[in-house]
């Protein structure tokens, strides 16, 4: 089935099998491999992207469901060489260890602040409950999101 999506501002059209998962489409067909596959069961959040501006787990969506939608992946966040404020906050606060969960964490965190620009620490922790860091680096991740919220206000 023909699918046309906007990813990071660019239009992409491909003929895909209906059962193709969105994350496989993004990684294997479009070739954007910044979006990671972790658990593949919509638990870990590593595959989080934005669909029409909201965080979504791309392992639990079919590519055909994304037809005509506006997608943003981790590759589309920075403005050229200038990191997105959330990426910069993750860097400043050393909010990553192995880095595997980081793209999903950053995308979830950006969506979180879009909906709640001035969250409490508890709201950040609850807001990121759909993202797992198996290095257990949550402390600095939460710090980075709060830092980003503060820097943006």
């Amino acid at each position: 089935m023909e699918v046309t999506v906007t990813i990071n501002g660019g239009s992409h059209s491909h003929d895909v099998e209906p059962r193709t998962l969105l994350v496989h489409y993004i990684r294997d067909v479009v070739g954007l491999t910044g979006t990671n596959i972790g658990c593949d069961t919509s638990s870990c959040g590593a595959c989080t992207i934005h669909v029409n501006g909201e965080s979504v787990k791309s392992c639990t969506m079919l590519a055909v469901q994304a037809d005509g939608q506006d997608l943003l992946t981790i590759e589309g966040l920075a403005d050229g060489d200038v990191l997105h404020p959330m990426q910069e906050s993750f860097r400043q606060c050393h909010a990553l260890q192995c880095g595997y969960c980081t793209p999903g964490m950053v995308m979830a965190a950006v969506s979180l602040l879009d909906e709640n620009p001035d969250p409490t620490e508890r709201e950040v922790r609850i807001g990121l409950e759909g993202n797992l860091c198996r290095c257990t680096g949550y402390h600095n991740i939460v710090k980075a999101v709060l830092h980003c919220a503060e820097a943006s206000s």
Binding site: H24, S55, I126
Partner: protein
């Protein structure tokens, strides 16, 4: 994990969806937000031959004040229910429970109708529907019909919906002055409830729904009867597991679930001011 192959039909209207269901019968499954169905399909626990995508039927995504009840379109996303001022003021229990469904990403995609039609005893929202005595509206080839929530859940992942029917609306009685409590016990963030309880008290009438205490979502009828007989929260809660048949899994056996049901029901009732 990749689902087994299927034919994909994108419905442009409820009528198109019904026509596809009429043609393909029990070979077909409806796809709304996909957050119950797609995980099952990826595990090959569900292998529908035809997937009818109703995710774009925006006319079935709404929250309306309909006099004595809220009319909520089946395709309304959890996020929209959770943040609706109307739901928060008229059905606070529903808004609160919805905010505990999955995680933010799941709530951006999952729908209230999809969650209820899935009929999963481990889901949070059916317990709210039971407690608030919601009415469901289904559309089929013969037109629309109302289904009382107590008649809806018929077996494990089975409901009163026919193969040719589409859940279109959820009618939740408005209860602006109700007091309520929602309890969800799990070991990790975003997990399914090991046991959950929705309790509401409105004008002296109580409703209590249980999560994960049987093969279907169930009402704690014994608790409701005790409360209407004037029992205290702690006395009424002792009846929480009566008549249930709790499942056994890695997290808990039946006895522990029965214990949890009693404790969580007491807490939910206390939160509801009983």
């Amino acid at each position: 994990m990749i689902p087994a192959a299927f034919d994909y039909i994108r419905a442009g209207s409820a009528e198109e969806a019904l026509a596809a269901l009429a043609e393909h019968g029990d070979e077909a499954k409806l796809l709304a937000g996909g957050h119950s169905l797609l995980p099952l399909m990826k595990l090959r626990l569900a292998t529908p031959a035809v997937l009818v995508d109703i995710g774009r039927l925006d006319d079935l995504s709404y929250i309306n004040d309909a006099g004595d009840h809220l009319a909520i379109g089946a395709l309304t996303r959890h996020r929209d229910v959770e943040t609706s001022a109307l739901v928060q003021s008229q059905a606070g229990l529903l808004a609160e429970a919805t905010s505990h469904v999955g995680d933010p990403q799941v709530r951006h995609r999952g729908t209230i109708g999809g969650s209820i039609a899935h009929g999963d005893p481990a889901s949070d929202l059916p317990s709210v529907m039971l407690a608030m005595r919601a009415t469901l509206v289904a559309r089929g080839p013969g037109g629309e019909r109302e289904i009382a929530i107590d008649d809806f859940f018929t077996g494990f992942l089975e409901t009163a919906l026919g193969d040719d029917e589409l859940l279109t609306e959820i009618r939740v009685p408005k209860m602006p002055d109700a007091t309520w409590g929602f309890q969800k016990f799990n070991r990790r963030a975003q997990d399914w409830a090991i046991v959950g309880v929705s309790a509401i008290v409105n004008n002296g009438n109580s409703g209590v729904g249980l999560v994960n205490m049987d093969s279907t979502p169930v009402r704690a009828a014994g608790v409701e009867a005790a409360l209407s007989g004037g029992a205290s929260a702690s006395d009424a809660a002792e009846a929480a597991a009566e008549g249930t048949n709790p499942p056994s899994d890695l997290n808990a056996g039946p006895e522990y679930r029965e214990h949890l049901a009693r404790v969580l029901t007491r807490r939910a009732l206390e939160a509801a001011g009983r």
